[in-house]
């Protein structure tokens, strides 16, 4: 009940969630604090202790009651202080396949002491705890299930602590606008990528591959290192990439029309599997899906481009 109440109060306070520019420092104003359920039990215990002390006129009972009450109030300060002045930055948010858990990374730094048992969570999900060491940057990686392809937005996150005695819950919200790209789930039943060549009509047109040296062209980000023309670099001609032509026989096109499936999602899953397979076999490949054609290529960056195109096909609603 109190949790719900707290949620609605904080929703009201943070009506607009605008992604913030990092780093976010948890200043005094943005930290909130309320008793936990344990805290209310503690207050009830104090009430019982007080009544017993009055009834039996136990002066030392009064002392005990007041010591614990004062300890509770001081604990509020300590809990609050366990969160204050922490600096938050977005961490890595690597892409995942649908059905896996996406991980949203947040790095936390403390300007002074070590902070114990600080946790980060998204609403309604299990928190991830860590001690924030004074001499280091701590990364908290929050697993979130990613059931569907597309862009998974992290949204508002809560950073909280209950240390040292668990009587109070101090928390703050932050939103870096973190997203994770969720690739379609690979359909392993789709078999190996089709090897037939569908581009006889386009014979003669050089297709980027890596079998036959063709020409030097300016370097693009993502070109594999072995494609860089090191000799040209040594001659101070600048950073150039060697372009090769793929031979028509090894040329592989992963085509929307080849993928069988009842619905677009099934086709996307099959294509995803093929991209993975082709990459695994070390083959060059291109991707043709409605509205987009990615030229022949190979390597980590190429694969990521292809998978991203598949993930964002048809512009799925952000989750």
């Amino acid at each position: 009940m109190f949790a719900n109440f707290r949620q609605s109060v904080s929703d009201w306070i943070f009506r607009a969630t605008v992604p913030e520019a990092p780093p976010v420092t948890l200043s005094q104003r943005r930290i909130f604090i309320l008793p936990t359920r344990q805290g209310y039990y503690f207050a009830f215990t104090l009430l019982l202790l007080l009544m017993a002390s009055i009834n039996y006129t136990l002066s030392l009972g009064f002392l005990l009651t007041f010591l614990l009450a004062a300890m509770g109030s001081v604990a509020m300060l300590h809990t609050w202080r366990n969160l204050a002045h922490l600096r938050l930055r977005p961490g890595p948010c690597p892409p995942v396949f649908a059905g896996e858990a996406a991980h949203f990374g947040v790095t936390v730094e403390t300007p002074s002491r070590t902070r114990f048992a600080v946790a980060v969570r998204r609403r309604g999900e299990e928190p991830v705890f860590a001690d924030i060491d004074a001499s280091n940057v701590t990364m908290l990686s929050m697993p979130v299930p990613a059931p569907r392809r597309g862009r998974l937005a992290c949204g508002r996150m809560e950073i909280f602590t209950r240390y040292p005695v668990g009587l109070f819950h101090a928390w703050s919200y932050f939103d870096f606008g973190l997203t994770v790209i969720v690739y379609p789930r690979p359909d392993t039943a789709a078999g190996p990528p089709p090897t037939h060549s569908r581009n006889e009509s386009e014979e003669g047109i050089p297709i980027p591959g890596d079998d036959e040296f063709n020409m030097l062209r300016p370097y693009h980000a993502g070109d594999p290192p072995r494609q860089i023309a090191w000799k040209a670099l040594a001659r101070e001609q600048g950073l150039l990439s060697k372009e090769f032509n793929a031979t028509a026989s090894s040329e592989l096109w992963l085509d929307w029309n080849d993928a069988r499936g009842a619905d677009p999602e099934a086709r996307l899953s099959a294509l995803t599997h093929w991209v993975m397979e082709a990459e695994r076999l070390g083959q060059g490949y291109g991707l043709r899906i409605p509205g987009m054609t990615l030229p022949q290529g190979r390597g980590e960056a190429h694969r990521a481009r292809c998978l991203e195109a598949l993930a964002l096909f048809g512009d799925p609603k952000p989750q």
Partner: protein, 662 residues
């Protein structure tokens, strides 16, 4: 960037955390063990061991029906061992202890851990039902510390915290809580308890005088070092032999036992005052009965009490907490010149069948001396003085004619023997007589000039009624052992008990001074902590100058104000400590050193390390070499070496300040 620590799940029931809780529980229960039945002790130990084993060997918890069965079992066992159907103090505490130890077996989740710890705080309180002494208070403060440390441990994640990592934060919390606690203690409006009826045994085991006197029961009391009350005199302390603290007055006599009568009535005291009164304040320890002790005779009765026509002060409520009252007494007085017929008959009543020889002796004196009361009293005193011995270990006396045996055979006795037999002889001789019990003398603490009256000072004497003089105090013990009345029981009997024999052996008085200091501490503790009640609070706040008629609203306002003040001070202190640092102190000092050199034309290049820079500086300005190399060495030590102490940093700063390049 590096991932310094891996994320963890939430707080857990780690083995060591569980052990801490079990140890704290054992610690808080320990003082109870001398009181609880043996089966409860064994049961508790078993439960603790069982829970420890579950945690240690990752065993399964017992099923719910076992717990239910045990609950019923221990409840029945508790009621049976106290032979009661009502949960009184002792039975309640025993039940709470066994239930708390059983609760540990149900402790599977974080929530249940916390409830167990809260239960532990309750167990702390139950100890105060039996004693509120300084040592126990300190002991239980430690136990609270351990519980809070356990709580801290349970709220850590990942690596199990070390003992230091538990005790230090917990100690800090409690230390910072102390000022707030003190303010609450002083200002929280006190309510006079009890709020509900106390169980019968709530005040059991309090020592003190009883309302009857049989030969032998005061000498038991005298072995006790316990304090009966403390007295602070306004100016002078009256002579020792006049310090008769009146307690219950006994009229009823059945041949063996003297009993306080219900005959005495509330009365306004009428007596002739002869001299300057003595003013004093008494702090009386709880004794569970109604009477208040006063020097005879009190001029007025303190609030909440009434004076009886036999000069007793009786409190309306039983004295079951420390009370303090102020009194004025007249030591030289005449009282009760007129004795009503019924009272006279009552003060002469005797069981003719018992103690025949004593009665015969009394009659013989009356006949010989022609009923002259003064002469009879003197004769009796001579009788006692000649043949009797004052001793703490009198021989046992028979049931039927104990005073005959005492007067004519054993002739060894203690004050109750003398007072009882003397009153009997007087009644037989036709002189109205009664026995008064109370305390005589006391012990002056030189540190605060307070008179401490112990149970060992318990005394019994008699009062006889003499025509034209009224009731006169006659103390036959003084006839046997004048030292008892002039110097206290220790002077008359020699030291009692180990403590006293130590003190007697201590020639330089170190021990007795220590003992006085301890008594002083105890007395302040009793007065300002244990005895801090509604009246003491009012008195204290008046002394603080908060006004004479302070009400709870003013107190609440002060309380809130001071709470905010102290809370503000603590948070300010914490904030100052949290202020982000300006940088490494050694780096700040070194940058200042560089700035000084730069002002002299030697600007450090951005890529120049401290040693390269030093080399260039010494080449350009050889005369700066000793100072500059010392500063550089110290800076490198502090920043890249094993770190620097505050002193070393201070020294570096001082050298930089003294450094002159221009």
């Amino acid at each position: 960037m590096s991932a310094a620590s891996l994320p963890y799940g939430g707080p857990s029931l780690d083995v060591r955390n569980v052990f801490w809780l079990l140890a704290s529980m054992a610690f808080v229960v320990a003082p109870h063990l001398e009181r609880t039945p043996a089966w409860a002790t064994i049961f508790c130990a078993t439960m603790l061991a069982w829970r420890a084993w579950i945690a240690w060997a990752a065993q399964r918890f017992p099923s719910h029906w076992i717990i239910k069965l045990l609950t019923v079992g221990v409840t029945v066992a508790t009621l049976y061992s106290y032979r009661t159907f009502v949960i009184g103090r002792d039975a309640g505490v025993t039940l709470l202890i066994v239930m708390a130890s059983m609760k540990l077996l149900e402790m599977r989740t974080q929530r249940e851990v916390v409830l167990s710890i809260y239960l532990g705080f309750f167990l702390v309180l139950t100890n105060f039902l039996y004693s509120q002494s300084i040592p126990l208070g300190i002991y239980l403060l430690f136990s609270v510390w351990f519980f809070v440390a356990t709580l801290v441990g349970f709220h850590r994640v990942g690596r199990t915290p070390t003992m230091r990592e538990r005790l230090v934060p917990a100690g800090l919390l409690l230390l910072q809580a102390l000022p707030l606690m003190a303010v609450f203690f002083m200002l929280f409006p006190r309510i006079q308890g009890p709020l509900w009826a106390l169980p019968q045994d709530a005040r059991a085991g309090v020592t003190g005088l009883s309302d009857s006197m049989t030969p032998g029961n005061i000498s038991q009391l005298i072995q006790s070092e316990g304090i009966a009350f403390r007295v602070r005199f306004e100016d002078r302390i009256p002579p020792y032999q006049t310090l008769y603290w009146r307690g219950p007055v006994m009229w009823n006599f059945d041949g063996r036992t003297w009993k306080a009568s219900e005959f005495s009535r509330a009365a306004t005291l009428e007596y002739s005052k002869a001299e300057k009164p003595v003013r004093y304040a008494v702090t009386l320890e709880p004794h569970g009965k109604h009477w208040l002790f006063a020097l005879d005779v009190p001029a007025t009765a303190p609030p909440g009490s009434s004076a009886r026509d036999d000069l007793q002060l009786r409190s309306v409520r039983p004295v079951d907490q420390t009370v303090r009252y102020e009194l004025t007494s007249y030591l030289d007085y005449q009282y009760g010149e007129k004795l009503a017929g019924i009272l006279r008959r009552f003060a002469l009543s005797l069981d003719e069948d018992r103690n025949p020889r004593a009665i015969a002796l009394g009659r013989q004196w009356r006949d010989e001396l022609g009923g002259n009361a003064t002469a009879i009293v003197n004769r009796a005193f001579q009788f006692y003085n000649r043949e009797f011995t004052y001793t703490l270990e009198p021989p046992m006396l028979g049931e039927r004619d104990p005073y005959d045996e005492f007067l004519f055979e054993t002739k060894r006795g203690f004050c109750e023997h003398y007072a009882g037999s003397f009153a009997l002889l007087m009644r037989a001789a036709g002189i109205p007589a009664r026995v008064v019990t109370g305390y005589q003398g006391g012990d002056i603490n030189p540190l605060n000039n307070e008179l401490i009256v112990r149970q060992a000072d318990a005394h019994a004497w008699t009062e006889v009624w003499i025509e034209n003089r009224g009731w006169v105090r006659t103390d036959p013990t003084a006839a046997v052992s004048p030292l008892r009345v002039e110097g206290g029981v220790n002077a008359a009997l020699g030291p009692i008990g180990a403590m006293n024999s130590l003190i007697a052996a201590d020639k330089f008085g170190v021990l007795s001074r220590l003992r006085y200091a301890w008594q002083f501490a105890n007395s302040s503790w009793e007065q300002w902590v244990v005895g801090y009640n509604v009246e003491r609070q009012r008195q204290f706040l008046t002394q603080l100058g908060l006004g004479l008629n302070i009400d709870w609203r003013t107190m609440a306002l002060w309380l809130i104000g001071l709470t905010f003040l102290i809370g503000g001070a603590i948070s300010l202190g914490l904030l100052v400590r949290d202020r982000p640092r300006r940088g490494e102190p050694s780096l700040v000092a070194w940058k200042r050193f560089c700035a000084k050199l730069a002002a002299a034309g030697l600007v450090r290049a951005p890529n120049e390390g401290p040693l390269d820079y030093l080399a260039r500086v010494t080449k350009a300005r050889p005369e700066l070499e000793p100072d500059a190399s010392e500063i550089t060495r110290r800076y490198i030590d502090a920043r890249y070496g094993s770190g620097a102490t505050a002193n070393e940093i201070r020294e570096l700063r001082r050298r930089v300040r003294a450094f002159k390049a221009a």
